[in-house]
């Protein structure tokens, strides 16, 4: 009898759910978080496009407004004044592109660990840039799950691509 829940992946069998329900519940939870996180980044990326970040000085205006809000002697104040505002164009491109690449990785389960690492890196940069708040702690924790666990092997293209390219670090 074929018990596969999802064809082609031995993880998704009724037997897996029956024999190790706790593990499978954890896997499903992490996968739900992966799609939620991907949606979160997708909305953020689309908002950057809609806000004209790539072809206007929208980010310079945002940084300038933020500089007026943060304490000048903080790391965020220094970053905004010396790096953020002078280099707003490349920063706008990097932020927008990463926010659009990460959801592709997470939705399709391709280079998932790389996508998770990119998300962690971007959010660390946000904190340095004067945009730290407690939500970043939770988001770092969620994104770290996609770096630690092989979620693209559980559901996504990484499993197949890793079989085809076992030495490639992209699909581990």
């Amino acid at each position: 009898m074929n018990t596969a829940v999802l064809p082609g992946n031995p993880l998704w069998t009724r037997e897996s759910f029956r024999s190790r329900p706790g593990r499978m519940a954890g896997i499903v939870l992490v996968l739900v978080l992966r799609y939620f996180f991907g949606f979160f980044f997708l909305v953020a990326g689309i908002n950057k496009l809609r806000g004209g970040w790539l072809w206007s000085d929208a980010l310079r205006v945002i940084f300038t407004d933020r500089l007026a809000e943060v304490e000048p002697e903080t790391v965020g104040g220094w970053f905004l004044e010396n790096i953020g505002i002078p280099m707003y164009v490349p920063i706008a491109w990097v932020v927008t592109i990463v926010e659009l690449v990460v959801p592709v990785c997470l939705f399709l389960g391709v280079a998932t660990r790389v996508g998770g690492a990119l998300a962690v890196w971007l959010m660390v940069m946000f904190a340095f840039g004067g945009y730290y708040d407690a939500s970043l702690i939770a988001l770092w924790g969620i994104a770290a799950l996609f770096v630690i666990f092989p979620t693209g092997h559980w559901l996504g293209m990484d499993r197949k691509l890793h079989q085809q390219n076992p030495s490639s670090p992209w699909f581990r």
Binding site: V43, E69, P72, F107
Partner: protein, 175 residues
């Protein structure tokens, strides 16, 4: 060829199709999201900012009868974390209110008063900020009592000026 092998491409196409459909739906929904607008407001307060300080100085009428400073403080740790869920829900559910912890510096005070549960509740539709005992019209800066009668006028201080205002209150005058 096994039955499973025949069905596998169709299943995969179905999965890819569902993911593509979900992404397309997200794109459409995100494209429809309404942005908050503070345009034209005399007292703009960003409802998306969780770690902002906003200082509103209100002068009671008649002039010279006292200045009250309202400090709209950072949101609580939990409120900051919960914005994670609020952000992707924006395409589906538009917020109409925003709540911030509030510190009040009444006339002559040397320290902030923070009555239990004191909050500044911003009505994002009517552009009003409810504070204990009244409300502030964000469009005109008018300061009203709870019954709607005029109490005075308010202005939004630049953040640096607001922080300095608070420091000056706390600093004892030089002898």
């Amino acid at each position: 060829m096994s039955l499973e092998a025949i069905h596998r491409p169709a299943a995969r196409r179905g999965l890819v199709g569902r993911v593509a459909g979900a992404v397309a739906a997200c794109l459409v929904l995100a494209g429809c999201t309404q942005e908050f607008s503070n345009e034209g407001l005399l007292i703009p307060v960003n409802p998306l900012c969780t770690v902002c300080d906003d200082f509103i100085r209100c002068e009671a009428e008649p002039a010279g009868s006292g200045t009250t400073l309202y400090h709209l403080d950072h949101k609580s740790f939990l409120a900051q974390v919960l914005t994670i869920f609020e952000y992707p829900l924006r395409p589906f559910r538009q917020r109409t209110e925003d709540e911030r912890p509030l510190k009040i510096y009444p006339p002559g005070a040397k320290a902030a008063e923070q009555p239990p549960g004191a909050v500044a509740l911003t009505d994002l539709v009517a552009h009003r900020i409810a504070v204990p005992g009244g409300w502030i019209d964000q469009a005109t800066g008018a300061w009203h009592n709870e019954d709607g009668s005029l109490k005075g006028a308010c202005t939004l201080l630049p953040v640096a000026e607001g922080r300095q205002f608070v420091r000056d209150l706390r600093t004892p005058p030089a002898q």
